[in-house]
């Protein structure tokens, strides 16, 4: 039986302190909320690489390949001479390839972002509307018996308000 413990802070630093403390105390499932990106807070939960760039690379390669393959296929499908140029005249196709590289890279990047950040998100997790304005949040999901310990850490970090709720997870 899990519970959510959500702390609301009025400064990013405090939230970061709390998160760090919770982590050191062995709380595995800590989530922070912030109205704007904050390095301190980001670092608090330990380093981590984003996989999005991999998507970008894949998209780029795909687009580039397509950008050459498609024109070449079409000119061979029905060869028509224009301006005395070769049927498969690569220079003009470079432009197409370039544009498609960018296009597919961009689309894949978006895909990668949505995928890895779990958006769009339908089910609402514990949240406070102020998190998008001027408050920071730290959410701890833990076994009911450890809720008190978590609350203690939050209070330590000069929390503004703490809420405990039934968790299904």
């Amino acid at each position: 039986m899990n519970v959510h413990v959500l702390g609301v802070f009025d400064a990013a630093g405090k939230a970061a302190d709390a998160a760090r403390a919770l982590r050191t105390d062995g709380f595995a499932r800590v989530t922070t909320y912030a109205p704007a990106f904050d390095h301190n807070l980001d670092a608090a939960l330990g380093p981590g690489k984003s996989p999005v760039r991999a998507f970008t690379l894949a998209g780029g390669i795909l687009g580039c390949a397509l950008g050459f393959a498609f024109p070449i296929y079409t000119v061979l499908d029905w060869p028509l001479i224009t301006g005395g140029k070769a049927i498969v005249s690569l220079p003009p196709f470079v432009v197409i390839a370039f544009e498609l590289t960018i296009l597919f890279a961009a689309l894949m990047t978006v895909a990668g972002f949505l995928l890895s950040s779990g958006l769009p998100r339908l089910r609402q997790a514990p949240y406070d509307a102020r998190f998008s304005q001027d408050r920071w949040g730290v959410l701890v999901t833990c076994a009911a018996e450890r809720a008190e310990a978590a609350r203690a850490h939050l209070t330590q970090a000069d929390v503004e308000e703490v809420r405990v709720g039934e968790g299904t997870r």
Partner: protein, 460 residues
């Protein structure tokens, strides 16, 4: 707002609360003047639509084309608007990569401008067709004729470049908006909160979301930058790839890109100066920003002027009768007045920006930005029309292009279309990025530069 030790007022940072309040205020119930503006642009747009339907029904002949001048105002508008589109991406992406911190305040507006400018530009290649009802033949799709498009034609490159650019810049704008939309969602009470709820994609600003978001934003900036360069290069190749004297020139790509950024910066000013007062954002969009924009205009203007000079020099130096004839005609022929006005607006007027007094005078900047817009529009007009009017065969020099009311209506309609979109945008979405604003005014001082993709973020 409880007092907390972390906020250091003496550093002059506005608080997050204030940022949210101020910026979200801009999307509250608009003033009557706003609706008046809306009505005006809508009316002009209708006039343009009327002109277009007339042209389609009666034939392209209702426009003022006079062979050999087969392209004129429509293509001029196309190039002009594509050019406008460029500075948007420049400011939001390139400046992001160069970590120019001041961009924050103006980035959102210019990204929006980019998207709407491309949407306007995209109309003209279709409007100028002889048979616009077959515009879809320009796209490569499988059809019963088993025909494809001619990938060797610069016009097809355009199709790809423009649609890619539209896609990427729109995504860039939208994804950058997501956190702000979420903020609006959590504050807005009227019907729009449902819209915001959908558009926010359930954004909560968790650590995970922020991390990937950063990575995404950085990568997009990295993709958009080469794209910007390629798109206007492709547009310039519409001309450079032909054999027409005055068009067939190797310097066109860089020359057009510079010109595009130049005109784009001017348009950003033209839009921001009124918007700033209209939405009471003086605290956010400050003189400092405009001065920086002005500073960027100086080099671009110089590059453009240099290109003009180079063209004439080459025409004279190569000793080709065709080239020389064309440029003599450009400077002294039927279209000379336009050429000289262009020189005035693009080369001479911007020189005044070397003086700080001018750079920091909003009225002056506004006037200059308008003049530059005019000048850059004329540049495209002169390149297109005067070159066509005076090509290889003297026996062909018959037509003197005189625009008709139809072209006037459609051009005006296009401007109206652009401003309509922009007006609707700034009243429904935050015209300045709140999250970025909050970041640059981060209460906890500067963190160390890290190796993470987030390193692409601005450093104070």
């Amino acid at each position: 707002m409880p007092s907390d030790g972390h906020v250091k007022p003496e550093r002059g940072f506005v608080t997050y609360r204030k940022i949210s309040d101020d910026i979200l205020r801009t999307i509250q119930a608009p003033s009557p003047s706003y609706f008046l503006a809306l009505g005006v642009v809508a009316a002009v747009l209708l006039w343009g639509v009327y002109g277009l339907t007339h042209q389609i029904r009666v034939g392209l002949g209702v426009a003022g084309y006079e062979p050999p001048i087969m392209w004129a105002i429509y293509i001029t508008n196309f190039v002009f608007w594509v050019g406008i589109a460029h500075s948007g991406t420049l400011i939001s992406a390139v400046l992001l990569l160069f970590r120019a911190r001041w961009r924050t305040a103006v980035a959102r507006a210019s990204e929006a401008m980019t998207v709407f400018a491309v949407m306007t530009a995209g109309l003209f290649p279709i409007i100028h067709l002889g048979r616009p009802w077959y515009f879809y033949w320009l796209f490569p799709y499988p059809n019963q004729r088993e025909l494809w498009v001619n990938f060797r034609s610069p016009l097809i490159w355009d199709v790809f470049a423009i649609s890619t650019y539209l896609t990427v810049s729109t995504l860039f704008l939208y994804l950058g908006l997501v956190p702000d939309i979420a903020a609006a969602r959590d504050r807005q009470q009227d019907w729009r909160r449902y819209l915001y709820r959908v558009l926010a994609l359930g954004w909560q600003g968790t650590d995970r979301q922020w991390r990937h978001f950063n990575s995404l934003y950085g990568l997009f900036a990295a993709l958009a930058t080469p794209l910007v360069v390629s798109v206007h290069s492709v547009v310039s190749w519409d001309f450079a790839m032909s054999i027409l004297p005055g068009w067939h020139s190797t310097i066109f790509a860089p020359y057009f890109v510079a010109g595009a950024i130049f005109s784009g910066l001017a348009m950003v000013m033209t839009l921001l100066i009124p918007m700033r007062t209209l939405l009471h954002l003086e605290e956010y969009i400050t003189l400092h920003h405009f001065e920086n924009l002005a500073k960027l205009m100086i080099p671009t203007s110089l590059i453009v002027s240099y290109a003009y000079v180079t063209e004439f020099f080459v025409a004279w130096y190569t000793g080709s009768a065709f080239e020389f004839g064309t440029f003599v005609d450009r400077a002294l022929g039927a279209y000379a007045p336009f050429f000289w006005v262009m020189v005035l607006c693009n080369c001479l007027v911007p020189l005044s920006l070397f003086w700080k007094r001018v750079r920091t005078n909003l009225r002056a900047l506004f006037v200059i930005s308008l003049l530059v817009n005019i000048g850059m529009w004329l540049e495209r007009f002169v390149i297109i029309v005067s070159s066509l009017a005076h090509s290889f065969d003297p026996a062909g020099w018959v037509g003197v292009y005189r625009p008709t009311w139809v072209e006037g209506a459609i051009t005006a309609g296009a401007f109206a279309w652009f401003f309509l979109l922009f007006l609707l945008f700034i009243k429904n979405f935050p015209g300045i990025s709140m999250t970025e604003m909050k970041e640059v005014s981060s209460p906890d001082g500067p963190p160390a530069v890290s190796y993470q993709p987030s390193a692409l973020r601005l450093e104070p």
